[in-house]
Symmetry: C2
Subunit: 301 residues, 2 copies
């Protein structure tokens, strides 16, 4: 049994990011984290992003709003953040409180800065197989994990438990792009075990601690556990029972130490891609302006 | 074995459309068909839409471009069509010739008039479960067929062969919304027969005449054949072998007479929905203008 540790993929992506920063003198890609209120899990994720991005040579700016901020004030500030040329990407901690109009925010968000694939532009791009679209980071992390460990996807039956907009649905689209056969299961699925047993690759993203045990998988299958839950004793556990599954699976991700760290690395990778495009675009514009200026210099034929 | 004829669903939708037209005096929802060149299948589809829409009490305007129209001329005309308040919906015959920038056209298209769900706005809406989004008509037609014949979807295993943007991918999203378990197979799928045999509902959209025979299905399954092909003798045939499948399936759609006619009905239904929203929006705007005008009348306190 192979343990698929996120660290391997994390380090690969970290090196790509450091290479980018090293080759773009004086440009530091910057992420804006937008957080409303003080939910503990948001703050934990924010702190983890800050800490890791420092290692990646990337900047993080935090925009913190009171939990009762009005929609008008929030949208006003959000437009300001979105238009700031020194911010290359945005991560919004969701769900937002009820008074905030999320559709309005999405309409105000530049898809080129939407690193977590929450705008319609990016979601549709993922469906269309547009390689420039940003997929939600967690969905992308599952793919990076499979690619990083060179697990064959083409033609293989991948079963995803969970149909959310941040994992199940976009991941289904990404896996189809890799020529996998894809099944999406969920709480209403009949014969769940039987379907999971037919999987070459099983991805579990249900948010229920240790729901999936070895009876769900077939001998030698690859199991990717996306869940991060806290059990009664305060320990982090996944959606799978690692102990029983690891006796039967061919490969499995641990929790913690699996998909979680890769998600943050994907966010960093998306930021670097976004910054690269925005910088390229800006410098091309300047070159074009310079060219036009030169072209109109007096004395030219 | 039940034969799932499209006519039943077609007539239901036709009545809804006639009701709408009957209850909106003097308003005739109008579809613009945009066609570049003279591809025989485009003209056949166009003629069929024209004929059927007449029965539905709906108007069709055809905008025909020469096959070698320049991109600039095409986009100019397209913007004009899109902005015409007397056009409530647009159907573009695709694929467009190479010189036409399809992305540019999509950017010029009002998602509210995009009846065939080709804009990113609508594709993402389908993924997000937004009931106001227009799904591609063929994908929607499969769903209308299943609903029209009251075939249980919740919890059932639906297998789709084909991963296109007009059927497979959006249909997967629509079926998830109905609480079905969804598998998408395609040309690279290993063990295709075995996977299809596990389906309660099998949807075939591959575009290969009679590829799927009875060995692909299990006793009593529902089979929806989306294919429309012409065989060696010039007859219309589906992607399934109707004769062998009908001996084993619980229900199956014929070709012709199955999903095809429902697709045109869905286009009509989308047009009526689009017109309804545009008319409502316009009259609300007018009411608002009137209100503001009244509010500023001199002499008011």
């Amino acid at each position: 049994m192979q343990e698929l540790r996120g660290k391997l993929v994390y380090d690969q992506i970290k090196n790509e990011c450091l290479d980018f920063v090293g080759s773009h003198n004086g440009i530091m890609p910057a992420l804006a984290i937008v957080r409303v209120g003080e939910r503990a899990e948001d703050i934990a994720y924010e702190n983890s992003v800050k800490k890791r991005f420092m290692d990646f040579g990337l900047e993080v700016k935090t925009y913190e709003f009171l939990g009762n901020v009005s929609n008008v004030d929030f949208q006003h500030a959000f437009r300001f953040i979105n238009q700031d040329p020194e911010i290359h990407g945005i991560l919004v901690m969701r769900p937002l409180p009820k008074q905030i109009d999320e559709e309005e925010m999405l309409g105000n968000m530049d898809p080129a800065k939407d690193l977590d694939g929450i705008t319609r532009q990016n979601l549709a791009g993922v469906m269309m197989g547009d390689r420039d679209a940003f997929a939600p980071c967690t969905a992308q992390a599952v793919l990076e994990m499979l690619k990083g460990y060179q697990i064959e996807m083409q033609g293989k039956h991948t079963v995803i438990i969970g149909r959310s907009l941040v994992v199940g649905k976009p991941l289904a689209m990404l896996l189809l792009q890799e020529n996998a056969t894809v099944t999406v299961c969920h709480s209403k699925t009949e014969n769940l075990k039987e379907i999971c047993q037919s999987a070459d690759i099983l991805v579990v993203a249900v948010g229920r601690p240790q729901m999936v045990g070895s009876s769900y998988i077939r001998e030698g299958a690859t199991v990717i556990d996306v869940g991060i839950n806290v059990d009664q004793d305060g320990h982090l556990v996944g959606d799978c029972n690692y102990d029983t599954i690891s006796l039967k699976a061919g490969a499995v991700t641990p929790v913690p130490g699996g998909v979680g760290v890769v998600t943050t690395a994907v966010l960093a990778k998306h930021l670097v891609q976004a910054a690269g495009r925005q910088i390229k675009f800006t410098s091309e514009e300047e070159t074009k302006d310079q060219y036009l200026e030169d072209a109109w210099k007096p004395g030219r034929p």
